[in-house]
């Protein structure tokens, strides 16, 4: 069963058409690597999935339920969007941790706010909060940061910050976790620790969409590769297909240029 199905997504910024009809689907436990030249629309696609942009056309299904249809404006109310975007998590290139909160508080904040809307919270406030805190601690431990729970973001290295950001996204147990070039803002010696965490998630069969310029990593970690150029999916397939036997001229050129460097 497809966890995610994207149909005919188009996105215009005024005159500029950035996405020209994107289709793909993702099975539970699959990792999809999204590659392509700068400006091809990868970030825009992730932002559409997380409703940071509203697609001009197209539909999004999660677990076979229609959650977004561009031709149905009632799906655009703030409430609907807020509920639906919880299917997705997003890890940003620039981490975007909340500077006034510790690593642990960065994880627990959103979950606590969501918990407030539930009836259990009113009954067992303390238990609910303890539970959330325990979950947060466990997640930080799972990304190797159990000794940094009470550190503020500025006291952490870039790699550590990004690991906190990944844990923060996992905290709400999204169906699909999206990464937008998670290592691009990092010094080269810090990319390894972040890639290792993502690799670990792939081994645990976390459903993911990963935008990356790390081709070797994409090849190792993904089950499916999408090569985008100028707002369209030019080629798709298993990593072996796309990286070893690209069919399209544009894919070949892109990979050649990439592996020359």
């Amino acid at each position: 069963m497809a966890v995610l199905e994207v149909k005919g997504i188009k996105k215009n910024f005024d005159e500029l058409q950035v996405l020209k009809g994107i289709d793909f689907s993702l099975e539970k436990g699959e990792a999809l690597a999204l590659i392509g030249a700068s400006g091809s629309g990868k970030t825009t696609l992730l932002r559409c999935l997380n409703f940071l942009e509203t697609p001009t056309r197209g539909q999004i299904y999660v677990n076979e339920k229609l959650i977004y249809d561009a031709s149905n404006p009632s799906m655009l109310s703030e409430r609907e969007i807020r509920r639906n975007r919880l299917h997705f998590g997003l890890v940003f290139q620039s981490f975007n941790l909340f500077p006034q909160y510790t690593a642990l508080q960065n994880l627990t904040l959103a979950k606590e706010l969501l918990a407030r809307e539930t009836p259990e919270y009113k009954k067992n406030r303390k238990d609910v909060l303890d539970q959330i805190k325990t979950e947060g601690e466990a997640l930080l431990a799972s990304v190797g940061l159990s000794d940094k729970l009470d550190f503020y973001p500025h006291q952490l290295s870039g790699g550590q910050q990004q690991r906190v950001a990944i844990a923060r996204a996992l905290m709400l147990q999204p169906d699909i976790l999206c990464f937008d070039e998670p290592t691009s803002a990092l010094d080269p010696e810090l990319t390894g620790e972040v890639l290792r965490v993502i690799r670990g998630l792939a081994e645990k069969r976390t459903t993911m969409v990963i935008v990356t310029h790390e081709m070797k990593f994409a090849r190792d970690v993904s089950d499916q590769v999408l090569f985008m150029d100028k707002g369209v999916v030019v080629e798709r397939g298993t990593p072996a297909d796309v990286f070893e036997h690209p069919q399209e001229e544009r894919t070949k050129q892109f990979l050649e240029r990439y592996f020359e460097e």
Partner: protein
């Protein structure tokens, strides 16, 4: 000895006006400034431009002139003369300072990276939650130094109220100059120095309180 006591009492009474003007202005201009800031960032363009023009006028003209306008304006325009001079001073100060504060707030709010809002949104927070739980404290931290400057300026500006006849401390002191007593006038400076000394300590405490994070 009586003359000295008399002068000091008079200065104290005058300074009470400065303090009241200071206190009420802060109390009202701080929230009003936020309302104006939101207006000047509104997506509804007529409101945005109206607010911006108003702020431009207030910031572009002397506070001294604004005091006169508030004192005489209602009488000339609507035939309801402003009888209470202190009230007139209060209104002029609140409007003037709210406009300055609004620009500081706007700068602070606009300086918060878009990524902070987006990170909150993606985690399922409402706009209100993002503003109060994520953005606000960062804004407060960023604007505290600029607000501190304005607050210190305000203490001294309160003396301007004398131009419309509010007997604040300097006006009180001047009466003694006419009687040949010059020291009361000069000692008004001490009042302001002590007050600003206290404020400076308070402000740096507030800044220290927010030192635990970087924004």
């Amino acid at each position: 000895m009586d003359a000295v006591l008399n002068a000091i009492t008079s200065l104290n009474e005058g300074f009470l006006f400065n303090l009241q003007l200071f206190g009420i202005t802060l109390l009202l201009a701080i929230p009003l400034g936020l309302v104006i800031a939101l207006g000047s960032m509104s997506k509804f363009l007529p409101l945005k431009w109206l607010t911006k023009t108003f702020v431009w006028i207030i910031r572009g003209t002397p506070l001294m002139l604004q005091l006169f306008v508030v004192l005489y304006g209602p009488g000339i325009l609507f035939d309801i003369p402003m009888s209470n001079r202190f009230l007139a001073a209060e209104v002029a100060f609140v409007i003037n300072y709210a406009c300055y504060f609004s620009e500081i707030y706007r700068g602070g709010i606009e300086s918060i990276p878009k990524g902070q809002y987006e990170a909150g949104a993606v985690l399922g927070m409402t706009r209100t939650q993002v503003f109060f739980k994520v953005v606000l404290l960062q804004v407060v931290k960023r604007i505290t130094p600029a607000m501190g400057n304005e607050v210190i300026t305000l203490t001294k500006d309160t003396s301007l109220a004398r131009v419309i006849g509010v007997t604040e401390i300097i006006m009180s002191a001047e009466r003694f100059t006419k009687q040949g007593l010059i020291w009361p006038l000069f000692s008004t400076g001490l009042y302001f120095l002590v007050m600003n000394g206290i404020l400076t300590v308070l402000l740096s405490r507030i800044e220290k309180k927010m030192d635990y994070f970087k924004a």
